[in-house]
Amino acid sequence: MAKEIERVGIAVAFFSAIPAIPLNVGAYRVILGKAVPYVLGDPHLTPDHERALRRQQVLLGLQSLCTAVTTPTLLEVQAA
């Protein structure tokens, strides 16, 4: 689905906990999700820490939208 959106020139930042799949199928801006049942955030953290993690992931996604890419690229939040 994301490829069809990319095809019309709308950049897509794709969040997935199994990045091998979108990278293989042809998504270009892929951000590593935390886990399949909680892609953005982490229920094992306190609410504040979880929101902070989600914010970092979202910022990575937004950053990727402003970055030119030519091959499928994976971005991950670096552990502090």
């Binding site: 959106i5 990319e6 897509v12 199994i18 091998a20 799949i21 886990a35 049942p37 955030g41 890419v69």
Partner: protein, 350 residues
């Protein structure tokens, strides 16, 4: 009399009888003998082979920690000294198909043992691993279990005995995309003329070379900045308003929808739920922002870091979505997003 082949069977947490989605993070473990569908596998193998052990691993654990998990799984398999490894069948389960493909690849490359698995041809595991493992086609669901095992067992025996494996269409596995040269009875010129005559007379013919269909999309240009951007939130995680008013299905969804979010500062559990049937959606039900990050986007809007968030959530359930339908949804979404003046998309998948 030939010695009985030793078979190790790889299963996920569900078929291994450990649990459902709640146990998708189960670490690799081994049980003696056949488990669950392994019993049917043993029956189909007959006296030629024995399922000496079953290695079970949670689908999420394997796909999220692939290197460590494969190392642990390989170790457990190697300890059983098998002649061949059978994984799955995974049917349409995406993480399971990826796991089965990965296990087979690892067994072949690290342990130098033959391996075979089976899954629905559209399972993402097929595209990822078809070059690295023998994958037999299977139906969508476990309704096809008996049919698949009846084909998996003889294939496993063949591999275990070291017999030569012929071309995909004769042996019944999904084409790997690799070609092997052989001498034929007739020359290429003769076969070509015969094929041409068949085509001219509108008779059925089979191309000797299947041209691959590369559907590559060019990456969309990067944005020069976000301050004036309209960002849309799109998801296949199955987040929908409480009550699922439009009855989106939990698998093989027949529709995608737009729901207004312009008036919201966050996605609350009171107003939203999750109907995706392919993973444990409990965490997202407790906090839908784990799939649709509206809280963060509103923060960023207030801080001026993002122009605006599109006041509509684009959502559907991605579970076992037939590829052609997914493409159609994608084209429809793309057209609607363009009409909505969207600059870029944050897309969350599960």
């Amino acid at each position: 009399m030939a010695t009985k082949l030793r078979v190790v069977h790889y299963l996920n947490q569900f078929f291994g009888g450990i649990g459902g989605e709640d146990k998708a993070d189960a670490r690799p473990a081994v049980k003696a003998g056949p488990v669950g569908p392994g019993v049917l596998l043993q029956k189909c193998l007959g006296d030629g082979a024995e399922v000496v052990a079953t290695v079970i691993c949670g689908d999420s654990y394997l796909s999220e920690h692939i290197d460590e998990a494969l190392a642990e799984v390989s170790k457990l398999i190697a300890a059983q000294r098998p002649d061949v490894v059978v994984a799955g069948p995974a049917f349409a389960a995406g993480r399971y198909g990826v796991a089965c493909g990965a296990v087979c690849k690892s067994v072949r490359e690290q342990l130098k043992l033959p391996a075979v698995t089976a899954m629905f041809p559209e399972n993402p595991g097929v595209d990822l691993y078809r070059r690295h493992a023998y994958i037999l086609p299977a139906g969508n669901t476990a309704i096809d279990m008996a049919g698949v095992m009846a084909r998996l067992a003889p294939f496993a025996l063949k591999l275990g005995r070291g017999e030569a494996v012929g071309p995909a269409d004769l042996e019944g596995y999904l084409p790997t995309g690799m070609r092997r040269n052989e001498f034929g009875a007739r020359s290429g010129a003769e076969r070509m003329v015969e094929m041409l005559l068949d085509r001219l007379h509108q008779r059925p013919f089979m191309s000797e070379v299947q041209l691959p269909h590369y559907d590559q999309v060019n990456p969309a240009a990067a944005l020069s900045g976000l301050e004036n951007a309209t960002i849309a939130l799109v998801t296949t995680s199955g987040v929908v308003p409480q009550g699922n008013p439009d009855r989106i299905e939990s698998w093989r969804a027949t529709k995608w929808l737009k729901y207004p979010i312009g008036h919201l500062q966050e996605m609350s559990a009171a107003e939203w739920t999750c109907v995706h049937g392919g993973y444990d959606n409990g965490y997202i039900r407790l906090d839908p922002q784990r799939a649709v990050p509206l809280d963060i986007m509103r923060e960023l809007e207030r801080e001026g870091k993002v122009g605006r968030v599109l006041p509509y959530l684009y959502t559907t359930v991605g579970n076992v979505q037939p590829i052609e339908r997914a493409r159609r949804f994608g084209r429809e979404m793309a057209s609607a997003l363009k009409q909505d003046g969207v600059t870029a998309v944050l897309f969350t998948a599960t």
